[in-house]
Symmetry: C2
Subunit: 191 residues, 2 copies
């Protein structure tokens, strides 16, 4: 919880009452590898902050194939933001891919925080600014890099993730099949 509070304090001035509110709606939980926190097609209740471990957000297309939108490691937020902001059912499944410690927030209570404690507006705005930047970069990478280049970049951005997740999840994040990723890895090891 301290990590999160410190993170908030780095973006805004946090009154003690506001801090109390955050703590009061936060539920620290341990989740195990394989646990599903949000399931595609159902209502989205929560937003999660990862203390340590790793979660994964993916959607399943009409052919049953998984596509990974996001990996969330230490100090990242994860949820189905499409569903929350559009007030829709979930298009994503969020799954725990390594035993993790997370902080769970009820999305509605979290949303009330802005009217109760306006100092959170600045915090969340800056959060979202960073989020937009990282998504813009991801799209540009997808457009201009080849699959092997994207894989290299991924390994740099998530140096520990290979411990957590099978390669076929990485492939589904990069937008290729696990067979292609395997070929890319073979080529890479030849060098």
């Amino acid at each position: 919880m301290e990590d999160l509070i410190n993170k908030i304090k780095s973006s805004t001035t946090l009154s003690s009452k506001a801090e109390e509110y955050v703590v009061s709606i936060a539920k620290e939980t341990s989740v195990s590898k394989g646990d599903v926190l949000i399931r595609q097609g159902q209502a989205v209740k929560n937003t999660y902050f990862v203390k340590d471990g790793c979660l994964r957000a993916y959607c399943i297309d009409k052919n049953g194939k998984e596509h990974t939108l996001q990996f969330a490691i230490k100090n990242w937020w994860i949820s189905d933001f499409i569903a929350i902001y559009n007030n829709e059912l979930s298009t994503l499944t969020i799954e725990c891919i390594a035993d993790s410690n997370i902080i769970e927030f009820n999305a509605k209570l979290l949303d009330e925080i802005y009217s109760k404690f306006p100092e959170f507006e600045a915090f969340q705005r800056k959060n979202l600014e960073r989020h937009v930047v990282s998504l813009h970069k991801r799209i540009l990478n997808q457009l201009q890099l080849t699959a092997p280049e994207r894989y290299e970049l991924f390994l740099n951005q998530y140096p520990d993730i290979e411990q957590y997740t099978p390669n076929y999840h990485i492939a589904s994040y990069l937008g290729i099949t696990q067979q292609s990723l395997s070929r890319i890895r073979v080529e890479k090891s030849k060098k």
Copy 2:
């Protein structure tokens, strides 16, 4: 200008002083097809709101190929947000692809608006939330749809854009070559 003020008012309560400030830092301008507002490699001064017309943000890769990150039509914001939020030089070029009326904001003055008039925090947070949702959707579409499907979707999302822009810009947005897009269009017309 009214459109923008109304847009702001739909997300926050705008005091008359705050409205005055917005107006005071806003520069309404006309720009012509071909004008370059931000050039890759240079400092980013401004953020733009499109009243009507169309702007395009793209980057040029090491091989000289263009990749379109965004088209901005009526009521959209556009700038190099990567550069602004990271305080870096521009990685994008922003170009006017149809005679347009825009409102220009100095990015630094715009950023001061939050400390001067905190009511803008909520407006911008909600803006960014929508932006994140649209980027998440774009990434999911890129992962799970084929090129012809993405092209169909694009035409639905930007029904008028074919008037403004040559097909090779659309191709560079979809992540394919203009030749591939041409083939896709031929296949489509056969049906």
